[in-house]
């Protein structure tokens, strides 16, 4: 059993993984935390693959969750250096009384700026 245990050097970014091995995945059940001045965003997925030193491809049931919102999608490229995330798969954003579905998204500025791509659909309650 291969156990990955990486600790990123960035102060405000944490990464951990479970001990379950998934074929074709560098990291199984990866968990990240993105901290900015006002909030924490927890990032989870079923699988993760390192694309290079900074970028990790998160796959299957990828979820970003903070106190204010959550985003669910299937694939995300997460950049641990500049704390950005990019997805080109169907995404669902949920916050209080709001849902946004889109063809993908980018997260910038430690989660303060989120861009939803393509034809997007919003429901406000």
């Amino acid at each position: 059993m291969i156990i990955f245990s990486k600790r990123l050097s960035m102060i405000n970014l944490e990464i951990s993984d479970s001990k379950i091995n998934i074929p074709n995945a560098d990291i199984s059940k990866p968990k990240f935390t993105i901290n900015n001045e006002t909030k924490k965003i927890y990032v989870t997925a079923n699988k993760g693959n390192f694309l290079n030193n900074n970028e990790i491809l998160l796959k299957d049931n990828v979820r970003f969750k903070s106190n204010e919102f959550s985003i669910e999608t299937e694939k995300v490229i997460f950049n641990r250096d500049n704390q950005t995330a990019q997805s080109k798969t169907k995404s669902l954003f949920k916050s209080k009384n709001t849902t946004i579905s889109s063809d993908g998204f980018d997260i910038f500025d430690s989660g303060d700026r989120i861009v939803f791509y393509g034809k997007s659909f919003v429901i406000l309650k």
């Binding site: 916050s95 209080k96 946004i100 500025d109 034809k119 659909f121 919003v122 309650k125």
Partner: protein
């Protein structure tokens, strides 16, 4: 063929409306949404359609400022081919830009051929039209500004006024019209021209200041200052020392 097309349009619109639950707002965009959490606003990009159970709005780009969360809308700014309709408030309009400040219920439509149409009043301007629903203040500023209701037609570069707070009818209770070329008011059978025209419903008086002309029943009277009593439909014209009141009686036969 036209009937079929109409039925298709009605059906599509109806199913879209029926899909909404009461109180829900549905927004679609062609080119995505940009959310700025710290700055508390989001941008809706390209061919934006907003549909709620009280109004619908279409525009090229919409910026929405929010308070606590995205649904908690404080201000809406729309740009490019803006048109909107509210069957509930019997209101529709269009323009190049629109701003709606939710808390103070202030609506501003801006740009060439701006229009704001209510059940009682039609407003047009190539500058902007601004209406405050809470205190009844309104302004039409810019070229080709025009306000029309059942009994009055007003034209001027600057039309400022107040609607009555009666819920059933948006009656104009005060007007201040100015145009450095000439303002125009038509009330029943009387046409009035002056640089500045003031109407006060409380004292039933229209006041005309500078380059005054009143036309009624083929009679044209000019002077520097005039008043029209809207209760008894009588008018007076005064002149300053250097000029005189001039009366022209036209023979229309």
């Amino acid at each position: 063929m036209r009937l079929i097309l109409k039925l298709i349009i009605i059906f599509i619109f109806s199913t879209s409306v029926l899909a909404l639950e009461k109180g829900e707002t549905e927004i679609t965009t062609e080119d995505g949404i940009e959310v700025f959490q710290n700055e508390k606003y989001y941008l809706l990009k390209k061919n934006v359609k907003i549909l709620s159970d009280t109004f619908s709005l279409n525009a090229d780009l919409v910026k929405i400022d929010f308070d606590k969360s995205l649904y908690d809308i404080v201000e809406l700014n729309a740009e490019g081919n803006v048109d909107f309709i509210s069957p509930e408030f019997k209101l529709n309009g269009n323009g190049e830009k629109l701003r709606f400040e939710v808390n103070i219920e202030k609506l501003k439509v801006e740009g060439i051929k701006s229009e704001l149409i209510t059940e009682d009043i039609e407003m047009f301007s190539d500058g902007y039209i601004e209406v405050n629903n809470i205190n009844g203040n309104f302004s039409l500023i810019g070229p080709n500004s025009k306000l029309i209701n059942e009994t009055i037609l007003i034209k001027g570069n600057s039309i400022k006024g107040i609607f009555s707070s009666k819920e059933d009818q948006k009656e104009v209770i005060f007007l201040d019209v100015f145009d450095d070329k000439i303002s125009y008011v038509k009330n029943n059978d009387t046409e009035m021209f002056a640089k500045k025209i003031i109407f006060n419903n409380e004292i039933s008086l229209i006041e005309l200041i500078d380059d005054v002309t009143i036309i009624r029943d083929g009679e044209k009277i000019t002077g520097n200052y005039g008043t029209l009593d809207t209760k008894n439909n009588s008018y007076k014209i005064k002149s300053n020392d250097k000029t005189k009141v001039k009366v022209i009686i036209q023979n229309n036969e």
